[in-house]
Symmetry: C2
Subunit: 134 residues, 2 copies
């Protein structure tokens, strides 16, 4: 989907920082940390601006974040078709650190202990990605 229509859909004004961030996240097919995003942007923006933009995008569901080991937070664009706000799997490469959304994988829902109820499953798979396996 075009960047502009994504913003339109969520009643967000079209500003340089927002456009730049969405363009960046859609052009790469992986999840990026805030710093990785920064490096990929065409222009420089204040840290606070990027922070608030990512926050807005998260709240609107335009992006989703992937918590991985090492206290690093990765952000990925959400493909509306896949309902990424719900159950969702990610792959984390131990070699290059890349984080991939695995949109095609469905998560098996395990039996929970008595009294527990679930509404969302998040699976993180650690291993070696395609590039690093070659």
């Amino acid at each position: 989907m075009k960047t502009e229509s994504i913003l339109d859909q969520h009643n967000l004004s079209k500003t340089p920082c927002r456009v730049d961030i969405i363009n960046t996240l859609t052009s790469v097919d992986v999840a990026l940390t805030e710093n990785q995003i920064k490096k990929n942007l065409k222009f420089d923006y204040d840290r606070a601006t990027i922070f608030r933009t990512l926050k807005t995008f998260s709240e609107k569901g335009i992006i989703h974040c992937v918590p991985v080991e090492g206290n690093e937070v990765y952000y990925a664009i959400s493909k509306p078709n896949y309902k990424q706000t719900l159950s969702h799997a990610h792959f984390h490469c131990n070699s290059c650190g890349g984080v991939y959304c695995l949109n095609s994988i469905s998560i098996a829902e395990p039996q929970l202990p008595e009294g527990f109820s679930a509404n969302k499953y998040e699976l993180t798979i650690n291993g070696c990605c395609k590039k690093c396996n070659e």
Copy 2:
């Protein structure tokens, strides 16, 4: 297992901070954030000391950390029987924020995209815990 023998097993000297932290994490049956751990300790220790102790314990496999949404890191004691360094499931309660280790659950290993190989699966289940469901 007794706190002292845990430290012994890993060639770690028996110091107040280490004993206090292990006692805390074994007495509760849930995962705790660094601040929650601090509140439960019998004595006060410097931030750096707690930081280094948690780091040491993580490296030794005495504890493992659970990354959850909101950039918070939870720490839980590792039960040696369950090989918690490998695939492992956790439950995160949306209501009380509690994080539980689900040692009895085995994770179904999904088919990965061509070229990807996995060595560890981490499943985080969000929902409502037993206490909050009552």
